[in-house]
């Protein structure tokens, strides 16, 4: 019975051992360890520009944790609920409202206010919640068209048309030129960005009444739904979700689709993953709008420090470094991410990149998305209904009403919060 009688020292020893095991990855060498979450392409590549930061700040060590984009939003919320947020993170611009609403973010301190200069206005606007800047833009992006210039030429086009009607005509021509089994454009039915862009191009706002109700049955959104649906109905886009396209670059190289809707990170992917023979035959162009060059959402990521972190000063030092125009220009070369600081665009490697020019034009036409904290879920519901519409369950007008019905329900709590004066 008394063979194993742990005394106080053994118990302390066990505890210390467990503690050391838990903090093993942090090797206590007196340096401040910053936990930094990054996503996708940025997570893969940010390690290449961090040695310079650590050289300049020998007392700080940065640990990058990579998160996949598909679950990053949910991981941030889960980490908040479980009190295990990192010190700072890359944050999708549309999530800032939500993270601010739950009180997870530390506002930009006065001494970092200068980081907010030299930025794009539309992007900066999405970080301002209730008059306070909650994050600092890291890179900007917007989505536009990547296309196969050789197939377009074969179809009789030397450039991407500027409005929907002409654009669709070009798709029919591509469909004929690309051959049996191939399509003109890839619109994965589980991705909301394409439809969101088409909807944003219209005159009507996506939400109404201080962003407490859906406005998806508006004439311009229904027009967007109808256009989106017609691309599938007329056989121009495959009825497939992104999980079914095992390798986008192989398929693009094979001519399975000629228009690919994506953001600047795809420049790097195209350069790295397309076969050499295809390299001269792809480029970028702005998205056509209903009646002339269209808008798209100002996307990108920002860098935010969490309120829970006790290393605020060190975290802002890292953000200051990552916001330097030269560092951003270097990161652009590695990832294709477009510098958030406008002076970063003057760096020759950015200014002379032929693929980037179209992004400049597209960014100048960017239109902000609603800032309701529920936006992430709203866009998910929008896409769910749109997929059902594409599969024949709804007409465009009925789909608009159905999205409204779902969105109004989602925003019920927000309406109550505003009535109570607990939200803006």
């Amino acid at each position: 019975m008394t063979d194993f009688a742990p005394d106080r020292r053994t118990a302390l020893g066990l505890l210390a051992g467990a503690g050391a095991a838990l903090s093993g990855c942090g090797r206590n060498d007196g340096r401040t360890v910053l936990q930094f979450w990054a996503m996708g392409n940025e997570a893969t590549n940010v390690g290449q520009i961090l040695p310079e930061f650590e050289r300049r700040n020998p007392d700080i060590r940065v640990v990058v944790q990579a998160q996949p984009w598909t679950s990053a939003h949910q991981k941030l919320l889960t980490a908040y609920a479980g009190a295990s947020l990192p010190d700072l993170s890359q944050v999708g611009n549309t999530w800032i409202g939500e993270l601010t609403a739950i009180g997870a973010l530390s506002p930009v301190p006065a001494e970092a206010a200068d980081l907010q200069t030299d930025q794009f206005g539309a992007v900066l606007g999405t970080m301002m919640i209730d008059g306070k800047a909650m994050a600092t833009p890291w890179y900007v992006d917007t989505r536009l068209l990547f296309y196969r210039s050789d197939i377009l030429a074969k179809a009789g086009y030397d450039a991407v048309p500027q409005d929907w009607a002409e654009w669709k005509k070009s798709m029919h021509a591509i469909k004929r030129a690309a051959g049996e089994g191939n399509y003109a454009i890839l619109l994965p039915v589980n991705e909301f960005e394409q439809l969101q862009t088409l909807g944003l191009q219209g005159d009507d706002a996506l939400l109404r009444d201080n962003e407490t109700r859906g406005n998806f049955a508006s004439p311009s959104f229904v027009e967007a739904l109808a256009f989106y649906k017609s691309l599938f109905d007329e056989g121009l886009a495959p009825l497939a979700s992104s999980t079914q396209i095992s390798n986008v670059w192989t398929e693009f190289g094979r001519g399975y689709f000629s228009y690919y809707f994506s953001g600047p990170w795809t420049i790097g992917d195209m350069k790295a993953k397309l076969q050499p023979a295809i390299q001269p035959h792809w480029t970028t162009a702005g998205v056509p709008g209903p009646r002339g060059p269209g808008a798209s959402a100002p996307g990108g990521s920002s860098l935010a420090v969490f309120k829970s972190s006790d290393k605020q000063a060190a975290a802002w030092k890292l953000i200051r470094y990552l916001s330097e125009p030269e560092v951003q220009a270097r990161f652009n070369v590695i990832t294709g991410d477009l510098p958030a600081r406008q002076s970063g665009w003057n760096a020759p490697q950015v200014a002379n990149d032929p693929y980037i020019a179209a992004f400049k034009g597209q960014l100048s036409r960017a239109k902000p998305l609603p800032k309701a904290p529920e936006w992430e879920r709203i866009s998910a519901e929008m896409q769910i209904v749109a997929e059902r519409m594409v599969r024949g369950e709804f007409t465009p007008a009925a789909a608009g009403r159905e999205i409204n019905r779902r969105v109004d329900r989602l925003l019920e709590k927000r309406r109550w919060m505003i009535e109570q004066g607990r939200a803006v």
Partner: protein, 299 residues
């Protein structure tokens, strides 16, 4: 009632107390907490500040019952169970009977081969099956087209997504049930088969009149475990289709996961959990009742 009985009773309570406390802390309290949670609108706003929490009564349940996606998830779960349970049991029983036959050689190897899918990582195998089911490059469609059949868009069409995932699930789990069946098959006395053979019974009659009655209790156990398992199907559609296409593979548990951990509507997610619990409970009761009706005193 003498005082000695009270002392014995006290001792008895003392012995069961640790177990009861563990059950109370780790089972009863969370269940009651979840029940209370399901009567509130706990969401990210409440996560930030508990003052934003409202007691909403049965509103979560009412909204679920008017939510087409919830009914869709119920329907999909039912499809998975109705098709999957008999399929999984049939496959595992078939494999067990074959492996139990004396004529089969290298039995340990076959056992390992059939059991291997069960112990391999689910996500890795799901990704592998995703490739096998690929519309253009998958080996399954390659087989279909090479014998002249049309290729099937397995995971891309709402009509075939459930069968495609079922194929994978059955392949993944039949080894486990097979082991249970194999164990019980080896307890069936050989004299029974011998007697049946002398009476002129063929393999089917032997199976029907000797094997089946002998393994009936195990069959019931396996069917209850399988029903509970299929009702809680989650990871397979999560990895393979993310609930698509057109939400045809959203199961109740997947729905609960999205409500709770993707969108942090914990009130609504708790309500889903309770409804799911009631469903599994009801089905198990029906199974027990049916087995009593059919099999007599096995349970």
């Amino acid at each position: 009632m003498s005082s000695t009985v009270t002392a014995r009773e006290r001792a008895a309570w003392g012995f069961v107390a640790p177990a009861l406390i563990a059950i109370a802390v780790f089972f009863a309290v969370p269940v009651i907490a979840a029940l209370l949670l399901s009567l509130t609108d706990f969401d990210i706003y409440a996560l930030a500040d508990l003052k934003n929490l409202r007691f909403v009564g049965l509103q979560n349940y009412e909204r679920l019952l008017t939510n087409p996606l919830f009914w869709g998830a119920m329907k999909n779960t039912l499809w998975f169970s109705v098709l999957g349970v008999p399929l999984a049991i049939a496959a595992s029983l078939f494999a067990a009977v074959i492996l139990n036959a004396r004529t089969v050689r290298w039995r340990p190897i076959w056992r390992v081969v059939f059991f291997a899918p069960y112990v391999t990582t689910l996500v890795a195998t799901a990704v592998l099956w995703n490739y096998m089911l690929h519309t253009k490059y998958g080996v399954i469609n390659w087989i279909l087209t090479s014998v002249g059949l049309p290729a099937v868009d397995w995971l891309g069409s709402p009509a075939t997504s459930v069968p495609a995932i079922l194929m994978f699930v059955v392949w993944k789990i039949f080894g486990y049930n097979m082991l249970i069946f194999l164990a019980v098959l080896q307890t069936v006395p050989d004299d029974l088969y011998e007697a049946a053979r002398i009476d002129g019974a063929g393999p089917w009659k032997q199976f029907r009149h000797v094997t089946l009655p002998a393994i009936a209790p195990t069959l019931l156990l396996v069917s209850i475990i399988s029903v509970a398992g299929f009702f809680q199907l989650f990871a397979e559609p999560y990895v393979m289709t993310q609930g698509g296409p057109a939400q045809s593979t959203v199961t109740v548990l997947y729905f609960m996961y999205e409500e709770g951990f993707k969108w942090w509507n914990l009130g609504s997610a708790s309500a889903v959990a309770f409804i799911l619990f009631l469903c599994i409970f009801a089905v198990t009761m029906v199974q027990l009742w049916a087995s009593r009706k059919l099999g007599g005193d096995h349970t």
